[in-house]
Symmetry: C2
Subunit: 343 residues, 2 copies
């Protein structure tokens, strides 16, 4: 009697299929489902901070020429990317690398392809003065623009209560960071990890099996299916020969000047990868099947068959998540009585 | 008995306040409330056309450098404008004039400040090859990009059923135009015109009274409170002396070469004007009170007092409408296996 009750309880909380599924058990040792919010002890996510960050994220008026907001390179319509090989910022300035999606980005262990930004907060703050991003000559100019928009005064005060001068570059970063920490995109793969074995179709399961056994998981693991380490791109052969990259990017070497960091980049998250072409740090590859083929070749020395590629792509499709409502819905910005500088 | 019943019925359908309101009666002879959809016999608004137009409106991938969508200059966060004096398009190219809001724009008798676009459909089509807009060298290049995005094939087929090759510049314009014809922003002033006399506060009513009696309504009338005629900017004195414009724009003269068209522009709609700074064809004026003062001076020869200005601004505030849901919510674009041209 006791035993059958226990079994009944187990059956309710852990469906039989889930218990019996070896692939699922294996996957659970490698990956974790997304949290509801990507919390950080350094930047508590409060509604007032998120509301401010949401507005700031979509405001182009703070940039040098008034055309660049965070949303210019991270567009709702394009799954938080801009669809470009390399982003174009103020004054038609080309960014050195591809803009990754902002979705789930707060889970990564560092920001930017070379990991030279600590986290999403740091990234947002530094973007203000990045020459090909917002392009402001200094933080003072950016803060002056923010302060010239009356509606932001109250929003900053509410987001940072008890602070005498809350309009600072750091608080800009904290507000946008808090907002970004809400941008999670739960996908069929998360449902699968939680025990819904029907959330993946047979092809996706076959792809997951290969993704594990071929060794993709050495780098693409954890809650973000990547985003947890630095790795050399081109372990077995030069990446630019496979990708047709126009320029050879030395990666982290240019940051650390350590020879061990030559061609080393942050491993990107693969969440929503099917919706965010083009691929790699330089956007040199246009399609996901092509990107999968190249990665298998240059990282693992494996030449994939068409079936293997399409199975793995089917698994990657299961990482396409539900779009966050407060990203797809635009905020309404406080109107400003100022005219941005003319170009 | 019969009389009192009649009075009761009247009281239900026509509130007493409305019947007694002379200002309302006067306003109703000059203005009309917004329709639910800005229908056109030339471009029936169908759900499939609107869905396609919504996607196309937000897609930057069709432009020369992949950075310009309709939404770049008509942003949801900024009430369908870009907040700039003059828009900046592909390759950092400056547009000759200020981008007006796309809201209610389909009601205007012509498009563009000089009226050299027939309607919103024509404007959308011509923008594709406008050098400072989408900047495509020709329609063929733009259509090739559209056709390279597989997801659009079905959407065009559904929007234009029975057409063998629906991906054409004209259908691009018709789809975006149909979408724009849904972007109406009913405002407190519309509620007022429909009989809710409490929809305007006393200051707004005082402003409306002045707006009528001072003659602003000579040009700013009808359903769009403007957008119905061409008029000279600077009837009584040169506009550029009052606005501080950096360049003298000859307006429609440069289109028609008719001396009568010197400094003639399309009268803009004043709907949502409080939310769409900066002002005038060249965005030369930063605040609404300043714009009101200048218009009274150069068009009507009247120097307004501070109270008169703030009353009129209170009336203009009542033209700020409810934001259209299908503009504030981003579409999700079909992903594309192509890399836009590198700059």
């Amino acid at each position: 009697m006791k035993h059958s009750l226990c079994a009944a309880v187990l059956a309710i909380f852990f469906p039989a299929a889930a218990q019996a599924d070896a692939l699922l058990n294996q996957a659970r040792q490698i990956f974790q489902p997304l949290p509801a919010v990507m919390a950080s002890p350094d930047n508590p996510v409060t509604p007032a901070k998120v509301a401010l960050g949401h507005a700031l994220f979509f405001d182009p008026r703070i940039s040098l020429d008034g055309t660049v907001s965070c949303a210019r390179c991270h567009q709702p319509a394009l799954y938080g990317t801009d669809g470009l090989a390399k982003s174009i910022g103020v004054k038609d300035r080309l960014n050195p690398r591809n803009a990754p999606t902002v979705f789930n980005a707060a889970l990564e262990f560092a920001a930017h392809w070379r990991g030279d930004r600590k986290n999403v907060e740091d990234q947002a703050t530094q973007a203000l003065v990045g020459p090909p991003s917002f392009g402001e000559p200094g933080y003072e100019a950016a803060m002056a623009k923010l302060k010239s928009i009356p509606g932001y005064k109250e929003m900053f005060a509410q987001a940072f209560p008890g602070v005498s001068n809350p309009v600072t570059p750091q608080n800009w970063g904290l507000a946008i960071g808090a907002y970004e920490r809400t941008l999670v995109t739960p996908a069929p793969f998360d449902a699968y990890l939680k025990g819904d074995t029907k959330a993946l179709n047979p092809r996706a399961k076959a792809g997951l099996q290969k993704f594990i056994s071929y060794g993709c998981i050495a780098c693409h693991n954890g809650v973000d299916v990547g985003g947890g380490s630095f790795q050399k791109f081109g372990v077995l052969e030069d990446y630019w020969k496979a990708t047709g990259s126009r320029e050879i990017d030395k990666g982290r070497f240019d940051v650390t000047h350590n020879p061990a960091d030559l061609y080393v980049f942050k491993v990107p998250s693969l969440r929503n990868v099917a919706m965010t072409p083009p691929y790699f740090h330089d956007g040199s590859v246009a399609t996901l099947p092509q990107a999968v083929r190249i990665m298998a070749k240059v990282q693992l020395g494996r030449t994939l068959t068409d079936t293997e590629v399409s199975d793995i792509v089917a698994f990657l499709d299961s990482l396409t998540g539900k779009l966050p409502k407060n990203f797809m819905a635009s905020p309404v910005l406080p109107p400003a009585p100022f005219t941005p500088a003319k170009p």
